[in-house]
């Protein structure tokens, strides 16, 4: 490994590719780690290097300095893309790369100091990267497959390049937003059922302009700003309804609501609040049921999770059909920033109880800003991955 360079004049990007991302799943294996040979025998081909190159050729003249990994984990792709300004700072010890390599490479990136990690892979790769970088270093994923569920992925490899090309000379100036990293139950998924769990929330650059196209929308451009508006509005609603117990779901939008009261809520879990206080943290199904025995008026505030648009998916197991039925469909408040909604053109409910899902009707009202809501058509998904 080369010694850490002193200081870089340009933005430093840690770039890594998980060359085998998605290969196992494509041929019916659970994951790819350790099964590459078997996947190849079953006819799987590596897509990630090609997808990564599609993005990187567009970044040939961008003001970045890259730190990367040896061979197919980065070096080869950068060279193929015609990029020369890079240092190889990590080499995989084994013949086949694995999840451990991704984590180790990110540790090296972190210790040298990078402004951003750009990776190509799938949801599993996103989790490996996020485990090391946390929220301290922004992440951007180039999707190696067709459908990635974590919101750190750009829609296409070209879009990833376009996002990064907003950066000019000077310190990192890309607009950042919160982006969920999710854990997809691959086995259930292959059986045709989408079960996702919110794994963490990374910071990720995005392209405000792309999202709204030619639109007149102005206030939507900044995700953090929209979130602050939602939080201020919901906090006023909560202040105006001191008799109601509010169960706030996972995510940073609901987190911002608690912040309005100077409180920190469980990032990935459900907390209960009343009269500006948190009464119980990280609720599970039985503690929710107990609260429902105790309080006459209960509301659930949830946000849209991940890029797949689940409002109440099976990943949110705490909110069982029984809990939801007792809260009442009319007492569910859904919040999401406008940017999030444009990223998730299809919203669906999958509570595990089709009768309950139907109770939400054809459209869903989503609070998208201060005293503002949008109406979105609900997709009746149940089980299908498409």
């Amino acid at each position: 490994m080369s010694s850490p360079p002193q200081s870089f004049p340009r933005i430093t990007v840690g770039f890594l590719v998980n060359p085998i991302a998605g290969m196992g799943g494509a041929v019916g294996l659970k994951g790819t780690d350790g099964l590459v040979e078997q996947a190849r025998i079953r006819g799987a081909v590596a897509h990630a290097p090609g997808r990564a190159k599609e993005a990187m050729v567009l970044l040939k003249d961008a003001p970045f300095r890259f730190l990367t990994c040896s061979g197919p984990m980065g070096e080869d792709i950068l060279r193929d893309a015609g990029i020369s300004g890079f240092d190889v700072v990590y080499s995989s010890p084994g013949a086949e790369t694995s999840s451990a390599d991704t984590r180790e490479a990110c540790r090296v990136f972190r210790s040298i100091g990078v402004d951003l990690v750009l990776f190509c892979g799938g949801d599993g790769t996103a989790r490996d990267v996020f485990d090391t970088t946390g929220t301290g270093i922004p992440l951007l994923g180039i999707p190696a497959g067709v459908k990635m569920y974590s919101a750190v992925f750009s829609l296409t490899p070209e879009a990833a390049a376009e996002i990064l090309l907003q950066q000019g000379i000077g310190p990192l100036s890309l607009p950042l937003r919160d982006a969920e990293v999710v854990d997809v139950d691959e086995e259930a998924y292959r059986l045709g059922e989408l079960r996702t769990r919110l794994y963490g929330i990374a910071r990720s650059p995005y392209l405000p302009g792309l999202v709204q196209g030619t639109k007149v929308v102005f206030e939507d451009r900044d995700d953090d700003r929209a979130r602050a508006g939602i939080a201020r509005f919901l906090a006023e609603v909560m202040e105006g309804t001191p008799e109601i117990l509010y169960i706030l779901g996972p995510g940073t939008t609901t987190g911002a609501i608690a912040h309005e009261f100077g409180l920190e809520k469980t990032l990935l879990g459900f907390d209960a609040m009343i009269k500006g206080r948190i009464v119980e943290c990280d609720l599970n199904e039985s503690s929710m049921l107990a609260l429902l025995d105790q309080y006459a008026h209960v509301r659930l505030v949830v946000s849209v999770i991940g890029a797949q648009g689940a409002v109440l998916g099976r990943g949110t197991q705490q909110v069982s059909p029984q809990v939801l039925r007792r809260i009442g469909v009319s007492q569910v408040i859904v919040v999401a920033t406008p940017h999030k909604l444009t990223e998730t053109p299809m919203l669906f409910l999958d509570t595990g109880d089709p009768g309950l899902d139907a109770g939400f009707g054809e459209f869903l009202q989503i609070i998208t800003g201060y005293r503002t809501a949008q109406r979105k058509r609900l997709k009746r998904s149940t089980g299908s991955c498409q």
């Binding site: 102005f218 206030e219 509005f233 202040e239 005293r371």
Partner: protein, 453 residues
């Protein structure tokens, strides 16, 4: 069968119709923001010329239109009334649809009808400059035209988001010699205060009004001009309905349904007041008069009927009207001219008392209607206008179901030639359907000033 029903220039109305004279009970008076007492003419004189103040409060039923004003209105008035044969055929409706086309004015909407009158009275009063606000730029361009005609200067505070996105409206104002400033600006205390609180605000009509009022109040040679809401503005717009009534009579028709879109209420008032007057006087009691607003800013259908300020800073008199709260910043729909938290006090009262009704439409629905209209009647209407088109089509489709041969009249308030980016967004599937979360907003305690009502 006529397609276009035209009036001779001599039939350009000589007098405006003042519906205040026919209201069964008087309008609740505007209140002074400082004292809470009814405003006096003297209170308003720093920003309005006396003749307009008189019209604002006049009990006189018909008010003469000065010849100088008629001379300018004659450039495009009387405006044509159309029978929408091709739209009817497309809808296969037994209803007869008529529309009054106000897009023929120089600025492309109904707005010059009052801009010309206001500029004239200010000129007569020796005022040198007018300050005003504009949302999407329709009103600003209309007043720019009118002030140029009468040799006044004009300063226009244009809502920032539109300033950036409607460059051609801004260009029109420049052609007519007006100064156009993005609002909020640092030119006024009101604008500076908003910017200090929130640098990235998209701005709103309410903020821009505060700036224009402050500008007028702090400069002796300058008056303020408002493009909607106030009684005298609605009065000036009644030429629309008076002409339409005469045109309908020419083909022996009287509308069963009268429709207009509502931002502040002026074009709706213009088409509707003469017919509402008939209704108040006991004839044509069955006429349905419908105000159409966006679901994003549903003032008449979801607002409270109470006293509220006309602007964000609370500089204007308190008006008794339907309001969503003077600090409500409506979502950025393309019908920028309908993004106003309040509505004309007269329209509000007539809706409250049931003489008129109100309904709201989603953004994507109205563009779909506008497309149908463009593909049959040819005119590409403004996003604001498309709200009226939507409800006219819905009413005609109702007739198709029931077999009724109703006569439907709607005000086609303006063309959409500078709104093509909105149509592009519609075709790109990028239009959001906004809603007003009424229940939650009520719970969050609307910040409406506490004034005894």
């Amino acid at each position: 069968m006529h397609t276009k029903i035209l009036l001779d220039e001599e039939h350009l109305p000589k007098r405006w119709y003042n519906i205040l004279a026919d209201l069964p009970t008087p309008l609740d008076p505007p209140l002074h923001p400082g004292t809470g007492k009814p405003v006096t003419p003297e209170d308003l004189s720093p920003i309005f010329p006396m003749e307009l103040i008189r019209q604002e409060m006049s009990p006189q039923k018909m008010i003469d239109i000065p010849e100088e004003v008629r001379d300018i209105l004659r450039i495009w008035r009387p405006a044509p009334l159309y029978r929408a044969h091709r739209l009817e055929a497309r809808l296969k409706t037994p209803a007869r649809i008529y529309y009054k086309y106000e897009g023929v004015s120089p600025a492309g909407s109904h707005k010059p009808n009052t801009a010309v009158a206001q500029a004239y009275y200010n000129m007569k009063a020796g005022v040198e400059r007018l300050a005003t606000e504009t949302g999407a730029g329709q009103w600003g361009s209309a007043l720019a035209f009118a002030t140029k005609v009468f040799g006044l200067e004009c300063t226009i505070y244009m809502v920032r988001s539109s300033y950036a996105q409607k460059p051609y409206r801004k260009s029109m104002m420049h052609v007519w010699g007006a100064e156009c400033i993005p609002s909020p600006s640092t030119k006024t205390k009101a604008g500076t205060a908003v910017l200090e609180h929130d640098r990235d605000t998209p701005g709103s009509l309410g903020i821009a009004i505060s700036e224009a009022v402050e500008d007028a109040a702090t400069h002796a040679n300058t008056n303020y001009s408002l493009g909607s809401v106030l009684n005298h503005v609605c009065l000036h717009q009644t030429v629309i309905g008076l002409e339409a009534m005469e045109q309908m009579a020419q083909v022996e028709e009287y509308p069963d349904v009268v429709i207009g879109c509502v931002g502040g209420g002026s074009n709706f008032a213009g088409i509707a007041f003469p017919f509402a007057g008939d209704k108040l006087k006991g004839s044509h009691k069955e006429t349905e008069i419908i105000a159409v607003e966006p679901t994003a800013c549903p003032t008449l259908t979801r607002g409270l009927y109470t006293y509220d300020y006309g602007d964000v800073a609370g500089l204007t008199p308190l008006l008794k009207m339907f309001t969503l709260g003077h600090d409500f910043v409506p979502p950025s729909i393309h019908a920028g001219g309908l993004r106003y938290h309040g509505a004309s006090p007269i329209v509000s009262k007539l809706v409250q008392e049931g003489t008129m009704t109100a309904t709201s439409c989603y953004q994507t629905e109205v563009f779909e209607a506008a497309q149908t209209f463009a593909q049959t009647e040819g005119f590409i209407v403004a996003p604001e206008t498309s709200h009226a088109v939507r409800v006219a089509i819905d009413k005609a489709l109702e007739c198709k179901k029931t077999g009724e041969e109703k006569t439907i009249l709607f005000n086609c308030s303006g063309h959409g030639d500078f709104d093509m980016s909105a149509y592009d967004a519609y075709y790109a599937g990028k239009l959001e359907d906004y809603e007003y979360p009424e229940q939650l907003i009520r719970e969050s305690l609307a910040r409406i000033p506490k004034i005894p009502t």
